[in-house]
Amino acid sequence: MTNRERIMNILHFKDADRLPAVHFGYWGELLLEWAEQGKISKDLAIGNYDGSEKEIELDRIIGWDCNWSRPVGYNNGLFPPFEHKVLEVLPDGSQRVQSPDGLIERIKPGTVSIPSEDDYLLKDREAFETLYKPKMQFFPERIDLEYFRNFNNTRPQDVAVGLAVGSVLGNIRNMTSVVGMSYLIYDEDEDLFADIVDTYADMQYKCLEAVLQTGAKFDFAHYWEDICFKNGPLISPELFEKYCAKHYKKRNDLCHKYGIDIISLDCDGVVEKLLPTWFNNGVNTMFPIEVGVWGDQFEPARKKFGNGLLGVGGMDKTALRKDKAAVDAEIERMKRLVSLGGFIPCPDHRLMPGTKFELVQYYAEEIKKIRI
């Protein structure tokens, strides 16, 4: 059996010779740590991202079969993006920088990771109409049509390949920050937020349609949202339903029309309260089910929604920072979830610094011993 067959069979409640060893990538800092420990070469640690050749090479070294978060896609960002430019250098040496999304970020000297959000451009109707709306339109340049026309012949045949179908709210949150998004929702111009969401969604629908019309076939569709945290959603479930439900339905109906019946959605945090909107509008695969840090769970969701709800994820990645016994315990717990059917274990988020290389190898090896 190929990994593609294994994945598709399991998610359709059919037999498979074994579980595929699926993962969700790494924090850059972890790869550097592994390089320093001499586990991997420095070269392999740098420029190693989802779907890159280096990542696939690392899969081979570790024993992974694939990364779920490796879909192919189109450009659904602001087009063209805002110019990335330094607006101001402050007395303490930190820079105020405008990001491609129109966020104003502050970069302190000496910080390597992500900058902190300072301000944002998408504040009112005028900014939306003049700065953002023109960048949220459909342009043919968003899609490499040639690539998709040849896709069925050029794609890897042995692994499941997903099509990234964008986001409804996640990217808007990236353009405005959580605070900015909150203010826009409650803007005095009550239609403004809906107009932003609708404009951005319509463009993505057109992109999706253009891709599917090329005849390219995909094993699953994959959304990215990241709109939840420790205590639940970053927006009320009612407002989420009001602004977003119709867009999921429209996009997912189109996927169904083209034969895609597995539609997964990447959202971390505790997602329970948003699941009804997703599930009732065609999203049927939870990912990555962050059980470790927040105790998000697959089983209660399965009980509630039945076998129509599938899962990829749910393995507490923090076990991979501990010891063999902790990993064994997770594998035992995974066996139970796997026995429910329609579930593929995967670490519940990117592997973070402190994760032990040998334990990851051990997990990948052991998980592949499980038969379905």
Binding site: P115, V179, S182, Y183, F229, N231, L234, I235, S236, M352
Partner: protein, 213 residues
């Protein structure tokens, strides 16, 4: 509806402009600034805090309510200083070194201010020494640390140690919170208090300040 109730209601729905106008009218009408603050603004913020705790409202509703509260407080501040109104306590708060997430920290700050506590905001990426030195210099009853990353939460343990070293551990309480933080972790590092959400954090801070005085 009395103007005080109107202030509270409009704050709860995040109406900045209305809150500002109503607070100004109340001031012009000669209503005592502490009454406007306590029975209008802070009581409205408390309602939102409770609802947030019970998942009846979410982050956006709290953020817009807090924005409205701040707009009202700005108008009242000079008058309150004149009146010599005392805060219920003083705390310093920050996100720990290496961590730039500040939304949760800001919510905790707003909720604490909503309870009448004076909050010194140290921002993000705050070193243990800065927490402790601020607590000493500004005579804070509580140090509040927020962390959102599993890789930065350990800095909280260093804040505890740093406070011990500076000899203020018996005078200053240390509160911890943020996405990966748990009660178990709080106990492990020897901090004094953990809560999972901002409204409970404010309640706990009021208690800690009360017992400190």
């Amino acid at each position: 509806m009395s103007i005080i109730n109107e202030i509270s209601e409009n704050l709860q729905t995040g109406k900045v402009k209305a809150v500002k106008e109503l607070v100004q009218t109340a001031i012009n009408d000669g209503i005592d600034p502490s009454t406007i603050l306590n029975d209008g603004l802070l009581s409205g913020m408390n309602v939102i805090g409770e609802k947030f705790k019970n998942n009846e409202v979410y982050v956006p509703e709290v953020l817009v309510a807090a924005r409205a509260m701040n707009a009202g407080v700005q108008l009242l501040k000079p008058l309150l200083i004149e009146e010599g109104v005392q805060a219920k306590g003083r705390v310093c708060i920050g996100t720990v070194q290496g961590d730039l997430h500040d939304i949760g920290k800001n919510l905790v700050k707003m909720m604490m201010e909503g309870k009448g506590i004076e909050v010194i905001d140290l921002g993000t990426d705050v070193s243990p020494e800065t927490f402790v030195n601020t607590a000493i210099e500004k005579d804070c009853q509580i140090i509040c640390c927020s962390a959102l990353l599993t890789t930065t939460m350990d800095v909280m343990g260093e804040v505890v140690k740093c406070a011990e070293k500076a000899g203020i551990r018996d005078k200053v309480k240390i509160m911890v919170g943020g996405a990966p933080v748990t009660q178990e972790f709080c106990d492990k590092i020897g901090a004094d208090c953990y809560t999972s959400d901002a409204a409970s954090a404010a309640d706990a801070a009021v208690e800690l300040c009360r017992s400190a005085s």
